[in-house]
Symmetry: C2
Subunit: 434 residues, 2 copies
Amino acid sequence: MQYSTKPQVVVIGGGFAGMACVRALRKSNVDIKFVDRRNFHLFQPLLYQVASGGLSPANIAAPLRSIFRKQKNVQVLLGTVEGFDTSSQKVVLEDGSELPYDYLLVATGSTHHYFGRDAEWEPLAPGLKTIEDATKIRRRVLSAFEAAERTEDAALRAALLTFVIVGGGPTGVEMAGSICELARQTMKNDFRAIDPASARVVLIENSKLVLDRYHVSLSEAAARDLRSMGAELWNETRLTEMYPDHVVVSQGGVPKRLDTHTVIWAAGVKASPLGKKLAESLQAPELLDRGGRVKVDSQCAVLGHSNVFVAGDLAAFDLGAEKTLPGVAPVAMQQGAFVGSLIAKALKGNRPAEPFKYWDKGNMATIGRSHAVVESGKIRLTGKLAWLAWLFIHVLYLARFENRVLVMFQWFWNYITRNRTARLITGKEESVAP
Amino acid sequence: MQYSTKPQVVVIGGGFAGMACVRALRKSNVDIKFVDRRNFHLFQPLLYQVASGGLSPANIAAPLRSIFRKQKNVQVLLGTVEGFDTSSQKVVLEDGSELPYDYLLVATGSTHHYFGRDAEWEPLAPGLKTIEDATKIRRRVLSAFEAAERTEDAALRAALLTFVIVGGGPTGVEMAGSICELARQTMKNDFRAIDPASARVVLIENSKLVLDRYHVSLSEAAARDLRSMGAELWNETRLTEMYPDHVVVSQGGVPKRLDTHTVIWAAGVKASPLGKKLAESLQAPELLDRGGRVKVDSQCAVLGHSNVFVAGDLAAFDLGAEKTLPGVAPVAMQQGAFVGSLIAKALKGNRPAEPFKYWDKGNMATIGRSHAVVESGKIRLTGKLAWLAWLFIHVLYLARFENRVLVMFQWFWNYITRNRTARLITGKEESVAP
């Protein structure tokens, strides 16, 4: 690594927050070290499309190096952060090497959280955070159909053709919609012994409604769309046990068993463990909230450390009344850009005093091939128009131009053919027989 | 699985031979069971493009089910063949289930062969036969550049930036060309501490020439092209030892050490182990040739068993003078189609007596972005015209239309931008520090 006499900025995490921060520093006379464990930025909102065979991993990921090739003040480093030495202002990497910083942004996001049963449940029910998660889900879903085609045991076939999604937020809704489509449209004529349209897609949700953060009219529209696509919505239902061949849920205290071999986790997330390491180095465990997020001040700085910032899903940004900003992409992007521009101004000696303000442009989720729900201010859309809005905004935000065009093309193709071209069972082979 | 009174045809292996055979039977009144361990047909000639980040796996693979969705007489089964019971005419799958056959085609191709040192060398030098091989090579090549960017040890950096390809056939030549391009063009501006163009790409070949089965003028053109792209050709060189951080070669009996962390195997192949199992079941070990291939008669039937066929890389088709047909895609396609049409005629009671005849349309290999060598009969092309011919033929042969268009688009894009969009380090993470 190269050292210089310029101010050093270290940005950890190549997600929406980190990218926005680095970009905001593009004109600054600094040395930025941009560290991530992976060599690419991942457009997470479309991961469910990879999990259901609609898109390839490379369609929604772009190498960080190539995104920032022209921004000469940033050096991308593929590495794992071991910890922090905040007293001497250094980040420690996995090989013991150190990155000194004048300003630090930690934006490593969140990971899955299985309500304290991580060890038992994680192997059975993959979540949807990484490319590997997505290809694992794709493999399991497709393998279940394959095994169903081969078995002659009717009960086993029914269990193999039952897909359970835990969590009725946007990810769960999108996942349920796309498995319905896969079974009822894409694979319609592909099998001989089974009818893939007989597959059951069961969405389990604690609360009364799916998308329960949205306006109730949108939640209801989403539920209607999902049901019309063939999904079963089990609301007010709590998952209590999970096994390789079945789950047990509780509905109003009554236990109920459901035979399934494929469970997808879209329920809980917890903060990246780097939050805890940062708090430890600062000797301030009180900085962590219950979910392991780092409490930040109105400028996204760690309380009491004006040159150390946390943004995105890892940050607990207080809104008062025990509320914090949600862990969604727009918050991460806006916080990252805010921190970058604040550092840029501070470097010039005029650090502003204004707080970060979140501009809430709204929420959206898609349900299958041509339905979505969108809310923005007082505007609420459902159905095809919402889907077009969703499509437009997602394509717009894709990190790089060639991906945008490729994804557009692939979507257009999938749309007119109802096909999914990326239906590959790849990776470590699991037994196809259950 | 469904049984019927129709004649049963079992085809094992979803490569070029198996696909062509099943297709040739499309109008026959039979039940075909088409068995493969993977759920997709893989267009192997373009695997090197996945290994070098130019294409995504889904661009060169198509689900077998979706290819044959309209051919109602075929049932695709995802499964692993455990063995054969040829006395009762059955194929045995991994779960003990059996597939009875009246006609059988075994076309499971070939795998890597490390000259008897498989256990030592395979983990160090992946070959290029599967999607997982390709993403492993991509991961190792890209990770080596990443580690080089981080190290401050000049000798280590040089070793990390040395890429060794063993074998100067078409795969080795294509792999060497695309790594040169990746380093010198695609990643030109991506790094800050290293110059990726300083990477050494060393192609090790036993014989005097690369592409030594081609006409000498084409071999020489390929060598010229490769050298102009920055590759080093070590001809008349034999690999003798391989370690995680270096290899040892022998040049005219003189040993020479080369420090490298990335070795790609493009040298030897051996027959799929199903050939041996078939010979065992037939109690005819003499059916296997030295490479484990199954000797077939002039109709691709196993000698003495007129309803059991072997085609493609697994077949040893005798040309006399101790020569056999080469293990290339056109041979597999033509043999598969021949066997399929022979079975179709035999089912109607008029099995023809004509032998299989290979129509040699020629050979081609590409060397990077706009060079190739093509020979067909007396026609020999090099340079850009050959590359266009190569491009045209490969796009033409891609199994499904949407893939063709996507690949065309992606190539066109890569061509004008000199970029590669699929440069992702995915899969099981290996240590980035050496």
